[in-house]
Symmetry: C2
Subunit: 178 residues, 2 copies
Amino acid sequence: MKLTSQAQAFVLHFGEMGSRWGFNRTVGQMLALLTIQSEPLNADQLAQALKISRGNVSMGLKELQAWRLVELHHLPGDRKDYFTAAGSIWDMARTVFEERRKRELDPTLSLLRQLLLNDPQDEQEARAQEKMQEVYDLLELLDRFANTLSRLEQKDLLKLMKLGSGISKLLALKGKKS
Amino acid sequence: MKLTSQAQAFVLHFGEMGSRWGFNRTVGQMLALLTIQSEPLNADQLAQALKISRGNVSMGLKELQAWRLVELHHLPGDRKDYFTAAGSIWDMARTVFEERRKRELDPTLSLLRQLLLNDPQDEQEARAQEKMQEVYDLLELLDRFANTLSRLEQKDLLKLMKLGSGISKLLALKGKKS
DNA sequence: TATAATTTTCAGAAATTTCTGAAAATTAAG
DNA sequence: CTTAATTTTCAGAAATTTCTGAAAATTATA
């Protein structure tokens, strides 16, 4: 498994962006490679292509499986596990989006819900709680919206995303359907 | 500056979430503290309240200023710099959203644009480029959409986010306005 | 201009995250 | 059951990120 320089560049870039998208470098690289690769790859091939240890590949695949971003296959007469990227690019994006929503919003919503149960003991604390409530309201709205988008049919999601500034016009129509 | 246990919990949590939201622990803590604090704070107060070094505060404030998440103030008769969170919670969220769009999408779009200029040298590479094109198309759409949302007036954004599953119905109306 | 107050910088320390590779565990085949 | 193939685990190593604190730079005041 030798990577073309194109593939190399793509894979390395995904490795570097990985941490911004929620996974580590090698997990990013593995996902990138499996994405542009049509044939399933086994762990040894991944390790060799990416020049990383066998153990690291094992951990990375475990994580990618937890995200449901890869699929396990078996080839006849071969005991090794083979992997491909799971689903279409859109499926992958949806999965990452959904997982990030969970990791980036839910813990905070949960904490804020807790903190807001307590009665403020003084003026200072009351003012702090007002702000926390604002943060909570915003994050909850975001969370629900992200959820709505996740559940939208691809057709509708595509339509929405392509609206551009047409969104305002459409919103102006709300409640006015003839 | 002693923090109440409420404030403490809020601040520590923001520190921990920081890395998921795009900044480091202490930057997250500083932003959290400035958010629930009505009075402007100076660097020494921040260092003392968060139990971090003066140098770290300076670097953190620099970063928060780069994000435009804090505002500099001066108190009469005091040479120190004082800071507050900039704008409303919504303003802050918009800023973070916008900044993350830049960091998480733009570099990848730029690389893919580059890679897709090259002619594929074989079947394997052609297939890889197809996938890269799919990734590009999706990320560009996302980028444009994120931009559209950023630019939306708060009133419209709120309306959109509150639509819930009503989005589908509204989209069905598109092009059918009487 | 000299001095004092304040902020910034940055080399190295500390903390955290990621990675390796050998050993242990699991799985399948004979 | 035994052996061989394969995968997983995880302690410690390596890499990376964050943080400290003292020195340098900047800014304001007298």
